[in-house]
């Protein structure tokens, strides 16, 4: 195992048992992802793009240990992933905050799961609320927060129990463009500060290129790696207009081409 390797996918495939539409009562196997092999480096920000239904969320469930691959294996720090753990934090697309807990209570939930004593929990929760700029909203319930705030709480909750890897499934998809951009740069700032490995799923090409050091382009279902594109951007946060930087435009074009090539092929299958 190379020194800086964090997560390794070895020929991972996942299929589901689904009803057979042709035969009543019969079932068949449906392959969501197959032949997945790639590695994620320690401290890397990697983004995954692919068309809807290509198996991105399925892949995230596999890494989080909520489901297990049908064949192949996923290793983290050289050890096979066999179940969920607090070394991985997940941010879901639909926030998944506990509605009966306040913003602070939600963050404390993960800390409690980790077994951190009560008095420390409160302090830590406060720290992470301020990290996402929500100190003033600690006692609000989720339904009293805006979509962007909820997603920040969800991010704070995942960061608080200090996982090595942050898994994010289209976390900004439901937000308006402005909030999304703010949260994107906030996430980059947090990443630089915390040095976490981040696996970020999106279907936005712009988002993938802006955030990722590398972009993994997936094929339509069954999903597999089409190509991994390096994004050699250096000053994402410092350059206010990074999106019109020639390197950015070039990278976006490449990813765009890869995705549309797939669509074109798909039309003839």
């Amino acid at each position: 195992m190379p020194a800086n390797e964090k997560i390794r996918f070895e020929n991972v495939a996942k299929s589901f048992i689904v009803r057979d539409p042709k035969q009543k009562g019969a079932t068949q196997s449906f392959t969501a992802v197959k032949d997945l092999s790639f590695t994620v480096k320690e401290g890397e920000f990697i983004t995954l793009v692919g068309p809807s239904g290509c198996g991105k969320s399925t892949l995230l469930d596999l890494i989080s240990g909520l489901s297990s691959p049908s064949s192949g294996r996923i290793c983290m720090d050289g050890k096979e992933i066999t179940g969920p753990g607090l070394d991985r934090g997940i941010v879901f697309q639909q926030y998944a905050l506990f509605p009966w807990k306040t913003a602070r209570g939600n963050i404390e939930f993960g800390l409690e799961a980790k077994g951190i004593p009560k008095h420390e929990r409160k302090e830590l929760a406060e720290h992470f609320l301020s990290l996402v700029g929500l100190s003033a909203f600690a006692n609000r319930y989720p339904h009293e927060l805006s979509g962007g705030m909820k997603q920040r709480v969800a991010i704070a909750r995942s960061l608080a129990f200090n996982p090595d890897v942050l898994l994010m499934d289209e976390p900004f998809a439901a937000l308006d463009a402005q909030t999304r951009e703010t949260l994107q740069s906030e996430l980059l700032r947090i990443w630089q500060k915390t040095k976490k490995t981040i696996i970020f799923i999106t279907h936005g090409i712009d988002e993938a290129v802006y955030l990722g050091e590398r972009v993994v382009v997936l094929t339509p279902g069954p999903g597999t790696v089409k190509k991994i594109v390096d994004i050699p951007l250096k000053h994402r946060l410092e350059d206010a207009d990074i999106r019109s930087h020639p390197e950015f435009v070039k990278a976006r074009h490449e990813v765009w081409n890869l995705l549309h090539e797939l669509e074109y092929q798909g039309a003839y299958i």
């Binding site: 909520l66 639909q94 509605p99 807990k101 993960g110 799961a113 339904h143 129990f161």
Partner: protein
């Protein structure tokens, strides 16, 4: 310094000025129809619109109610009814909630018990009253048992539904933090189920009174239901209406109390029209 003090004082008067008439208006709106109803009740028998023998004037009923209170008779019947309905209700809580949580948590239990529960839930409790009296006699046991029976179903079925309907995403989110099944149950399933369970409890509270009164009318020597039928047999019509009024008030108080608790426990739920 003076300025700082003056501002809150000004705000306060302003708030009172706005709120006071608002509250009065609300009170007026809530009571106007009731007052009109009482007036119609009062004057219908007096003007010969209704037979005073069957519908005595409202003030006569209030007078009868007052006498019943003074003689201690009302309290006696009221207490008897309360003991029965509260015992049955409390027993139902103790039995139905844990049972519902268990059935809801284990899919196999749900599948096995569903047909039985469907059958019982659709059996009107009062239809079973003769059976209860046959087996348990006409004493306290049969009355508490019928209240227990009537209260069990709404609580049980709502609890099962509550556990089954917890947002799978929340379960997924909690499981991703690697918590044990026991913790998942206590920290996620239970709090997420509280509002739905409480709806069942409120339904049971209303049902408890209804069923008990009916049971007391059929066979009892005390209780509000008995008071009503007894008064009717002896043609003490004002007393009969006094008993009915008491039951209406009791039902109102129970429902309001449970609703208030329900709101308090579900305050994290988004208010649709709040």
């Amino acid at each position: 310094m003076e300025n700082v003090k003056a501002v809150p004082a000004a705000l306060q008067t302003k708030r009172i000025k706005i709120n006071f008439p608002l509250n009065l208006r609300k009170l007026f709106k809530q009571s106007i129809v009731l007052v009109l109803l009482a007036l119609v009740w009062e004057f219908a028998p007096l003007t010969g619109f209704a037979d005073p023998a069957f519908l005595p004037p409202f003030t006569d009923v209030i007078q009868a109610l007052w006498n019943l209170i003074l003689s201690g008779e009302l309290f006696h019947h009221f207490a008897a009814s309360m003991v029965r309905s509260l015992s049955g209700f409390a027993l139902a809580l103790v039995i139905a909630i844990p049972l519902g949580l268990t059935i809801g948590w284990y899919p196999l239990a749900r599948e096995l018990l569903n047909p039985v529960m469907e059958l019982f839930r659709n059996t009107a409790a009062l239809a079973l009253l003769p059976v209860f009296m046959l087996i348990l006699g006409i004493g306290e046991t049969s009355k508490i048992a019928i209240v227990l029976f009537a209260c069990t179903w709404p609580i049980l079925l709502n609890t099962i539904a509550a556990v089954g309907n917890v947002d799978p995403l929340l379960i997924k989110s909690a499981r991703s933090m690697n918590i044990s099944s026991f913790k998942l149950f206590v920290k996620v399933i239970l709090p997420a189920s509280v509002p739905t369970i409480f709806t069942g409890i409120r339904m049971a509270g209303t049902g408890a009174i209804l069923v008990l009164i009916a049971a007391e009318m059929v066979g009892a020597k005390e209780g509000l239901g008995y008071l009503i039928t007894y008064s009717q047999y002896n043609f003490e019509i004002p007393e009969m209406f006094a008993g009915i009024l008491t039951i209406a008030l009791l039902g109102l108080i129970i429902n309001q109390g449970l609703s208030m608790m329900e709101r308090k426990l579900s305050k994290w739920k988004q208010q649709v029209n709040g």
